[in-house]
Symmetry: C2
């Protein structure tokens, strides 16, 4: 995994308010998590006409063990392109932030071919994600195609980007909290703002915090945006052990709160 | 302009309830309108490495007389790719519908090159759309790039797709009601459902309509989904003359209502 970032006049970067070596999802894990939550993307193929232009088309997609699966018609441009040249990539991009370039996105590159022989795994993955595709999945001109991922470009937002190794991509698992994170964050911010403040005071280096709101949670820990006299700063804290369910998050956060109160007493 | 569509067992297609020769936006106009409302897309380039894979990346975009303009860093993959090979395409895709394949999208293909010499037009177009890009527009590693559109693939949803001629693309203008259509539609459906019913009864071939709701409006006319005993059907009706503003829509709809009442009296 290599990292790169725009070289910018950074001024005096403020000292982090937390242990930056705290366990954090790898880019492979972040990328697998991102794609697990998305069902559409842009398929890039090579135009079958003499121009050979790269051709972007909108597709619905599902993932089968990390490889994108498509259900496409032989009448579609991208299918004609792939029949002539299997080189392809898929871009999937998150929405959400008002600043579009702050959102995460992943480009998966590889050869995209029609699934020959047993297509049951591709089919099951696709139809589990796109139930309403059942009605055309068996039309004669439609077939399942799969992109075999060879290289992965992950951009998590400003300054968080890398090429992910394919072995890391296939070994990584989407975050088990991916679908519940939003609910956990809303609950903590609405009902437990004092607890978030206590976590920071007990476990981070910030001594003069006046407010803290949760901005992210994953199997390894959680992130907050905290207010200190100089402005807002990020804080990340680790869970004692890897969690897999919202219930485990709840239990862990309660025991961390008890420990925080004991430390601060 | 050529049209194509999936060949499907259509059964007995119901007879249209309106004059299908009513003035309707061309695909060039629909495509120009679509892109005028969108500010992000997928840029497809050719990987500068030996694989030559088509590479999709997320970009912010603006349009300058129909040509996409980008503000990109020399550090970005797509910029490195374009420096080696200017062949590119841009996919822009609408959101909105629950069925992602029912949404409109446009692929613009052409050569994408750094704007040399006077970049004021590209710059003005881009910064008008992306105000917050002002702070990095003058960073040394950033520059404006423009894709010179050569061919255009328009997909308006199921069964509405074509290759648009470049001359038609450049001659077409985005619909003047693009930004106000949603408000007009909401207003008509909330406040004037009886008027919509009267338009259909007076100006369409539908004789047994029990409900009508507006689904679209453009410079040439408006579209409704109407309920007849057999189910829902689309109806499109023309304005007497091309309109350009919500106020002109209002005036025209009032005079059409008077005429409808006179016809039905």
């Amino acid at each position: 995994m290599t990292n790169d970032a725009h070289a910018r006049p950074s001024g005096d970067a403020p000292e982090p308010l937390y242990d930056v070596n705290v366990p954090t999802p790898t880019h492979a894990e972040r990328a697998r998590t991102l794609v697990s939550r998305l069902t559409t993307g842009t398929l890039c193929t090579l135009a079958a006409d003499p121009t050979g232009y790269p051709y972007g088309s909108f597709v619905t997609v599902a993932f089968d063990n990390g490889n994108p699966v498509f259900l496409v018609s032989t009448m579609a441009e991208h299918t004609r392109n792939l029949q002539q040249d299997p080189r392809a990539s898929l871009l999937v991009a998150e929405g959400g932030s008002d600043d579009p370039l702050a959102n995460g996105r992943v480009t998966l590159l590889g050869l995209c071919r029609k699934v020959e022989g047993d297509s049951s795994s591709a089919r099951a993955s696709f139809l589990a994600t796109h139930q309403n595709a059942r009605y055309y999945a068996d039309f004669r001109d439609f077939a399942f195609w799969q992109l075999q991922v060879e290289s992965i470009r992950y951009i998590g937002g400003y300054g968080r980007m890398s090429w992910v190794e394919a072995t890391d991509w296939y070994a990584a698992e989407p975050d088990p909290l991916a679908s519940s994170a939003t609910g956990v964050i809303e609950h903590m911010n609405q009902d437990h703002p004092e607890a978030l403040l206590l976590y920071c005071k007990a476990f981070s280096k910030a001594t003069n915090i006046t407010a803290a709101s949760m901005t992210g949670v994953d199997r390894y820990g959680f992130e907050m945006s905290v207010v200190i006299p100089e402005g807002r700063r990020p804080v990340r804290l680790a869970f004692d052990q890897t969690v897999a369910t919202p219930e485990e998050v709840r239990t862990t956060l309660i025991s961390m709160l008890q420990e925080a109160r004991a430390r601060l007493a």
